[in-house]
Symmetry: C2
Subunit: 144 residues, 2 copies
DNA sequence: CAACTATCTAGATAGCTGTCGAATCAGAAG
DNA sequence: CTTCTGATTCGACAGCTATCTAGATAGTTG
């Protein structure tokens, strides 16, 4: 069973294990290891390792619920889970699951304050993904 | 079974059904309906419909093999399936499957020429996804 | 037309994923 | 300490997906 033909040590984009609130140390230093890595796709092909490291972030955005959650979080300074959850016809655990996926992908970070948990976007992760999708600076090579 | 809490008519980003080579009519007019739609995530939250339309493109990039395929295609004017396939330890049908996913997501277009099928990136789709991930122009609002 | 090559489609299968309800954990308030 | 509320974790399950082999399709070459 080959699966993905990868044998790298993933070294995931960001915080994956921290159960809850542990990102206090140095949020912007720990995370951009894998996300900040590559020239735009239109400039240079990715290596297998780079693709393995970057794909999870895109995957996390590949679900409509998560993409909307992401946009709701990114469009405000920070968002409370309670507000996020009320925008969907989904159970609390399901929203929590999606938020965890976004967090594991390094796209958001969370922070418990009193009774509530607040989520914030990680702009660095965005910038990196956006840069990957940037068109080439030179005129679009449509042929050769 | 709620699933995604969506009830829209997807109106997918791009060509999904055309079995092979039918994109000759007006490639850049047919496709950008759904991909070209929204302000950056950091500016305004997506509606459910927008998220449903946009998520498949991110999902398509969310697999390491596809992300690398995408980068290989986007970094050259066009790429032959034979060259793409030889870069992976995967069967031909599997590569074909991944290319179809990318095509259905509107990220690439294909074109049979003689015995070979050539794939090209769709820069418009990239630009739109990249724009979604762009950071806000104003200083990053880290608090309120 | 027959044979050959490149690619795609069809069908099968193991593993992943989105969802839920139930149970648990974290704080605030009695 | 007990209770209440917000959020996460756990366990289960249906549906999806990445992969394969086998077979079909498209086009070139003899």
């Amino acid at each position: 069973m080959l699966k993905q033909a990868v044998s790298v040590t993933p070294s995931l984009p960001t915080a994956a294990q921290p159960p809850t609130g542990q990102q206090a140390a140095s949020p912007e230093a720990a995370n951009q290891s894998a996300v900040a890595c590559c020239a735009p796709l239109s400039v240079r092909a990715l290596t297998t390792d780079q693709a393995v490291n970057l794909a999870p972030a895109f995957k996390a955005l590949g679900d409509p619920v998560r993409l909307r959650l992401m946009s709701m979080i990114a469009s405000v300074p920070e968002a409370c889970v309670c507000d996020l959850a009320s925008a969907f016809d989904l159970s609390g655990p399901t929203i929590s699951h999606h938020l965890k996926v976004l967090r594991d992908a390094g796209l958001v970070e969370s922070d418990r304050r009193a009774t509530w948990v607040w989520y914030r976007a990680r702009p660095e992760a965005f910038r990196q993904l956006g840069a990957l999708l940037a068109p080439p600076a030179d005129p679009p090579p449509t042929r050769n």
